[in-house]
């Protein structure tokens, strides 16, 4: 695919960087645009593999918002296990249209969860709450 010339550090917005993992391109687009309008720097990934490539190439992001059902060999739950192992302080929010409450636990710890279909404002609110807990300001 070739390379693009760039400095490797991806800019972090003042209000925090959110990694969104969603394979539905229209939902991803609309969610990410809404989060950008709230002041977040947003990285878009279509699969867990893409997200892992990003996280392996840079510092952890502030929050991950991840669909449970993803194409490829790694789903959202497996990604969360990987993320908690490699970036223990990086919060992950999961989303799904049909994930039983009993399965919203990864590595013995509950995972913040937003049911689909969701209002993007709910996502922004959840992110702001998590960032507030970790001492960051959150979006506008």
């Amino acid at each position: 695919m070739g390379q693009v010339q760039h400095t490797p550090d991806v800019a972090r917005a003042r209000d925090g960087t959110v990694l969104v993992i969603e394979d539905d391109v229209i939902l991803r687009l609309d969610t990410c645009e809404y989060l950008r309008s709230k002041g977040y720097h947003v990285i878009e990934a279509a699969t867990a593999e893409e997200a892992m490539a990003v996280l392996s190439a840079r510092d952890p992001v502030d929050v991950v918002f991840c669909d449970v059902q993803l194409p490829g060999s790694i789903g959202g739950l497996s990604f969360t296990v990987w993320a908690r192992e490699h970036f223990p302080s990086m919060p992950v929010i999961l989303t799904s249209g049909n994930l039983p409450v009993a399965e919203r636990v990864v590595s013995g710890r509950p995972v913040p969860f937003i049911a689909k279909p969701y209002d993007p404002d709910e996502v922004a609110g959840q992110i702001a709450s998590l960032l507030a807990c970790s001492g960051q300001s959150g979006g506008s």
């Binding site: 070739g2 991806v10 917005a13 003042r14 878009e44």
Partner: protein, 138 residues
């Protein structure tokens, strides 16, 4: 502290650019750079996602696409589909392969943008295309 403030956009652009690039580390950098230059950016991993966006009626002024894409449709075929279905849309192809770059020249007015490129080259190309469009009254 963010280094974004160092990249002051020269102008605020209202155009929307659809960036199609399967390598997320490339796509992320190009998309961020274009946003910092004032463009609205839609990201797609391949031709199928791009067509979903365009078929949904999302406003797109220009497409910047890698030639080598995963799936059944490569950048050439996507460019042909766009020419047929969205004739007013500007298309810029990019590739790191010289042989395909020659072929891409037939689908881009200014020829393909060869990799490796700096994102500012993309911005220059976009500004040139939009300026030409404005002068032509399109």
């Amino acid at each position: 502290m963010s280094n974004r403030s160092k990249r002051v956009p020269l102008q605020v652009n209202a155009e929307t650019i659809l960036v199609i690039e399967p390598d997320i580390l490339v796509r992320m950098v190009v998309a961020d750079y274009l946003r910092e230059c004032g463009y609205k950016v839609i990201e797609a991993t391949g031709a199928e996602e791009a067509m979903t966006i365009l078929n949904a009626g999302r406003k797109v002024d220009a497409v910047f696409s890698e030639v080598k894409l995963h799936g059944a449709m490569d950048g050439f075929r996507l460019a042909q589909w766009i020419r047929a279905n969205h004739p007013r849309m500007e298309v810029i192809l990019t590739t790191g392969v010289t042989a395909t770059a020659d072929k891409a020249g037939e689908l881009c007015d200014e020829g393909p943008l060869e990799k490796p490129y700096h994102p500012r080259q993309v911005v220059r190309r976009l500004r040139m295309l939009f300026e030409r469009r404005r002068k032509a009254g399109r």
